[in-house]
Symmetry: D3
Subunit: 290 residues, 6 copies
């Protein structure tokens, strides 16, 4: 069960409205690697967790923090939208140089059209649970497999992609209030990358899971002949220079090999047998017409 | 530019048709962690790559291999569907015990209804680019950020989630032909987990990227006070027991701290200012009626 | 900012596993009118709210409660899935009567195929943020327009559709543990229907909004001639019998009229002018070939 | 079965082309609360209706009218697009002041880029069944539950959100032709809000349905203890001031209570049991490696 | 503007309820090639049409007919659902043989689980605007490009795929009432294939459009060297046997050639230049750490 | 199985970066009729093909070529994005005329906001598998029915819509490098329209399929009375002038007739029977309250 405080976790006030930046900032609220995604992912991983208690609690701690991050971003975006598009249109109409040049009325429309129109028409100057092109958040961004090493690897990725996007957004504004909030989110993503990497170490030390995931699947059930072969499907062999092409495998169970010209391991050309003629597919030979 | 051989990369022939298993197997063809996802992800990462040549070639090698895995799975599914639902319906109708019990005609419909109906109606006994519940593949499963450490972490995840799903599918069938093909895919996923882990090592050794991603963002622009704090948002402190709660941070730049009772770092309650009244939102006080 | 307790808000333990019911119960977790939808809707309405404080707090109170309802349903579904599909397959194989009748191996597959296959392959016996046909939750289910009367009407609807679905699910199971949890959710939905109807009364009493929404749009800007006409676009006049066809309008501003044979109010046939020929559309007359 | 006249229901001709406004106007054609949504919603409610004939006919009357509204909006948008983006690009190129400033060629691209590019590339100056950010209309916007009170509440909402959006669009243009058409749609939405509110009254007077929806579900099957409790999940008690916190409930069946500090009603912490180990989830304790 | 009659266009009454067939029949109501798709496609083609009047009227005639087909299918599906899943569950529970075998309660759940659960939970025994796997209809199925030859080719396809699916559905049932309705839809699809093929002939005879679409694009702007070459990207030359590999081209403007071993026509390896380092992509060489 | 060369199939280098054009060009990479769509469609048609070998090989040849077209477009888009939005923002800030007029800082934001923001934030100056409004590619664009005439008709459409879109994009740029690449794609689409039309001829000559698709469905199972009737659902009879209204049908099996005033062929008004009351739908008469 959950409770809320009245205060935000950290400041979320821009120096000035900026509806065009509001559109971009949506990416880290409702985009694939935004705060809704990590909030929902950690919640479902926690609720579905069957591992020792320290893992479950840790996952739900961070999930709960992320609700507060969603709140901060939604608040910031609503504040960035407090210059009304109607006002902007009116101000622009007074602008004689641009107005004359553009033939009366186009420039102001350009500014408005560069906004996310749904910030005016749909949400009335509020944040929306969508990304920077207006695409709605979807729960396909939520990952919870029941296997914690598979999922913690996803979580490290999410914090990496997320921090990358926030730093890009930092470069796209000069607003000090926005940058202050982003500096907080960047720091928390630093912690969370460290946190999930630590959790991976802990999982391995506790003997719960190893590479390759899943580590308890019986080895005799995989075709070990091809389990450590690097296959070069391109002309040239520049890929031979990397660590992936030679030396012991990183799971400690094999030796990496470089296969310069991989060939099919079967004569099977993938030709299919017959399907029921009543499904009206095209058959190998002509049939009398119905 | 691309070419194809006539043969598949490995065998893809079941011992017997099984339309119900065909439905499940779709998950690793057209699902979130299926072969289309890794094919498209690696292709876009390669085409967008600005890193040294060995990385770009490696990424495109594995992307090209994955086209062949998509081909194998599509072929296998089409073969699993070669028992027609029309024939199944007719056979079932002859079955007097079940037929009598179920009131005539229900049982056969149950079998057919448990199939993915689109395998009959839409594809006429062919594979479809959808997952095990019939949801279409979407390019939101394709990740290519331009930052290779962020992306290689995703790739390790994809090969982990993918291998996990293939082993689960292995347990859900006894068909030797199917299991043979899956044992090949499981082994290739073992290689690919190793390959991306090796590539991460190589990236770090080449000095191209480190934790936290992105590693070249200026440190003074993040709020370092909170960059190494574990925050406990739950009752109780079981999460204190983990590696994430103490000791040096995994990026080697800080010391992890456990904050038992995190408090808001601001007095800001997230209250908003006015929006333009012409957007007809509900204001703080009543206005005369229009 | 948010916190969590260790306990659920109410019991969420079934008497016995039932993977087929787990699939259905997903509807009120991740479906259009499920708990994720109300959680996200109320949160965004609260964060975007510019109305008096009592409204904002009330909206966020209920939003916070709904996080706990999502938690209860996710927990219940994971527990309903604790009978493994692999075990089910093995048990069924021992069943000689059905096995013989169905030709060896079909019946068990029928049971498994009737599960949501992603409950085994994707989530490993955990809940997923999807509905009863496996379609992912999308933020298009989240409504927050900035106009509270428009939004509270949505909220009444959501609690009505949601309570309706929960009562249907109640009829589809005999499990006492499941029914106990549903009886709690049904009661909370009773409260929440009452709560939003009360909030609509309060909004009107506070003079903040009335019918028609939005009530402050200048009346002279609508074509009042047609603002109170019922138009009968069907053969016959059975629709004339209803309250909507006569008497004072419910907004107290007009008199409802029944228009038995509505006619176009314009001669405009919707014919279009020319588009730029370089867009290669089909023009009204043939042009010389390029 | 359906017929069409040659004329539109009302005028739909702008004073001048305006491709940037065309993009915004798409919201009320193909957006969540646009005319396609109400057309499809009312049609499906009518076709699925099992209530008395006057309801079914009324629902289908309005559904049929909405087809004509879709037609008007599609026509208006096609006319707003009759200034070709190719011509706009050429005109802008002649503009020396802006052209010089922007470095030759950028400004015209800005104008074109602010259009919905699909209005040129995909539809060749025609309307598209998408919203103002280009997101396709989806049938998840169609609601038809079989319970008319639940559905009529949705319909009031749809006409409220829709009218709100049309008034916002009215403020975003000065074009008299566009405003004329919008004044017609605003008036019809006034009627339709009245119509659905009247229908709700009629349903209750006919004894067909009441609050709480569904009203015929046996009361003894809900946990009445919590059916009239307002639960305050936030710090502070500002929410206590509202009608929702005290007095008789709006369904006339209970007395509203304010619970200042709600507590969990169970000791259940949501911990899960074991899943089948062959699904390779992370278990509570380490197992020997496979 | 549109009107409706009280009667359906043709009979739509099954001999008996069959909820499992109802699920399948959804494909041609709300699937990619179902009746909603052709209704919406023809409407948008008509409303966006700038070609001679006979084309526009013809397109809108057939679009209007399709509304009536949507109505027939929705009605049929609602009638197929009139056996309640609650009743089915109760009947099955009385069935001792199956019940005993399956361990009490599984069989009835199997039947119910094979239904589309949303037919009970969401629509209360009504049709839904979704396909046979429950995926919602999306307006991406609507095609209207402004170029009538491009669009009429789509329309022939839609009537071909649609008729194919209806014949498959015909084979999947024995119900005479259902088959009667399908025989009507199959015949109308025969007409509509003929109609669009005739319209293509007419377009060409009227000189409005030819192969290749678009036919008025200046020929000197395409690289005619490769405009008639068949390129063989596979091992082997079986594809050489077809009409596509030799003889005059079907547009009458060239001679088809078979290129047995196509080679790249450029030395460009697709290597990219630098991106701004502040976007934090991985660069070609290591940079000092931030 | 597949291989790749190092070179692209044709040049893909723009004269200069142009991030606004990059956004538009995405339409033919990741849009409905873009290169990913034809690549995936032809692959699935080939893998599911049960027709004679020459067809299967031809389909897979062209599918393999399309992978190379996806590669060319992705490369071109990444190169068009090599002017960083951060640099553009800085340059614009120096621009005093515009800067002064717009109030300091707005103009540069306008330029950036007209970009696809995901080209900066998500892909870091790389191509994305989405269309020109940022909507992700979905496998619902992939068509493979098993019936080759139905599918080849789709393929002709795809090459027609695709070529149409590429010619529109040609008109929207002056960049010679971009136009060079487009002239290649336009020519290949010319070939591919010819190729699929030839394949249709071949299918008919080989006796494998005819109009109406599917041609082997027994004629006595369709309602031939209405199989050749043109039905006029509009006021007026302009549609009577076309080839579709008279003369022999194009399948050679009937005579087209013009039905000026089509009437319902049934008395059925589509009224429904009862549903189970426990689903809580609204019934024809009031029931006592629960």
């Amino acid at each position: 069960m959950f409770y809320r405080t009245r205060q935000l976790q950290y400041h979320a006030r821009p120096d000035a409205p900026d509806p065009l930046y509001a559109k971009k900032l949506q990416e880290v609220l409702g985009g694939q690697w935004g705060e809704i995604s990590v909030m929902m992912t950690y919640m479902f991983q926690g609720w579905n967790c069957r591992a020792p208690a320290k893992y479950r609690d840790m996952i739900l701690d961070i999930g709960t923090e992320e609700i507060g991050h969603v709140e901060m971003l939604a608040t910031m975006i609503a504040r960035l939208l407090e210059q009304s598009p109607v006002e902007a249109r009116e101000q622009a109409a007074k602008n004689s140089i641009i107005g004359a040049v553009m033939g009366g009325g186009n420039m102001q429309d350009v500014i408005l059209a560069s906004m996310n129109p749904q910030h005016a028409i749909v949400s009335g100057s509020g944040a929306t649970p969508t990304d920077s092109v207006g695409f709605p958040w979807t729960s396909r961004y939520t990952i919870a497999s029941g296997n914690l090493l598979a999922d913690f690897r996803f979580n490290v990725t999410a914090e990496s992609q997320g921090r990358l996007q926030v730093t890009r957004l930092y470069e796209l504004t000069e607003d000090r209030g926005v940058r202050d909030m982003l500096s907080f989110l960047i720091a928390r993503d630093t912690m969370h990358q460290n946190q999930w990497l630590a959790a991976i170490e802990e999982l391995e030390e506790d003997g719960l899971e190893h590479t390759p995931v899943p580590s308890n699947f019986p080895r005799e059930r995989e075709l070990t002949d091809v389990a450590y072969q690097y296959m070069n499907f391109s002309e040239g062999t520049e890929s031979k220079a990397g660590r992936w092409a030679h030396g012991p495998s990183l799971d400690g169970r094999g030796e990496l090999q470089y296969v310069e010209s991989p060939r099919p391991l079967t004569d099977d050309e993938g030709l299919l047998g017959l399907a029921d003629p009543r499904l009206q597919g095209t058959p190998p030979v002509a049939a009398p017409r119905g």
